[in-house]
Amino acid sequence: DAGVTQSPTHLIKTRGQQVTLRCSPKSGHDTVSWYQQALGQGPQFIFQYYEEEERQRGNFPDRFSGHQFPNYSSELNVNALLLGDSALYLCASSLAPTLGGELFFGEGSRLTVL
């Protein structure tokens, strides 16, 4: 049973560019959440997708957008990259928005913005 898979694992971009990160949730899961983790910090919630819609959003600018496909996989897009966007981007899946559900995380996509 495949867990959460993310791609690419590492990427380097320059300021002003755009990036797309991809996530396939754990088999049977229908909800995907995205987190940003800066070095030495805990993950910060970006947004959550369920039934192909953004259900909740954290305190991130509109440069951060996403999408969920009918097969529950998801993409995170970041436009007009800033140096401060350099971080580990984590995708987490769960089974439907439920109270207290544990999250299953992927290994993350390490983004470096030069």
Binding site: V4, G42, P43, L90, P97, L99, E102, L103
Partner: protein, 115 residues
């Protein structure tokens, strides 16, 4: 807004001892609290969840307590082993509580267990 504080200093202990990690939060009490383990360059891995009406939860060598009066959770690893060395993250839910997946994480505490 809700804030979470974990031991900012790394915790170094000897193998076989009990490691105790602290998670303090401000403002409202969450419906539940979770603990995750994270190894360098890897994604967090879920360990334990404790609900607001539970005082204590155990899983093998792990124990979590939840004191809503003190606004604090303690995470214990008994008979620690070098393989327990990792960063441990505390996470709380955010209202609306029926929308699982939206968590606030602490900055994590790095645990190092020496042989």
């Amino acid at each position: 807004s809700q804030k979470i504080e974990q031991n900012s200093e790394a915790l170094n202990i000897q193998e076989g001892k009990t490691a105790t990690l602290t998670c303090n939060y401000t403002n409202y009490s969450p419906a539940y609290l979770q603990w995750y383990r994270q190894d360098p360059g890897r994604g967090p891995v879920f360990l334990l969840l404790i609900r607001e009406n539970e005082k204590e939860k155990r899983k093998e060598r792990l124990k979590v307590t939840f004191d809503t009066t003190l606004k604090q959770s303690l995470f214990h690893i008994t008979a620690s082993q070098p393989a327990d060395s990792a960063t441990y993250l505390c996470a709380l839910d955010i209202p609306p509580y029926n929308q699982g997946g939206k968590l606030i994480f602490g900055q994590g505490t790095e645990l190092s267990v020496k042989p």
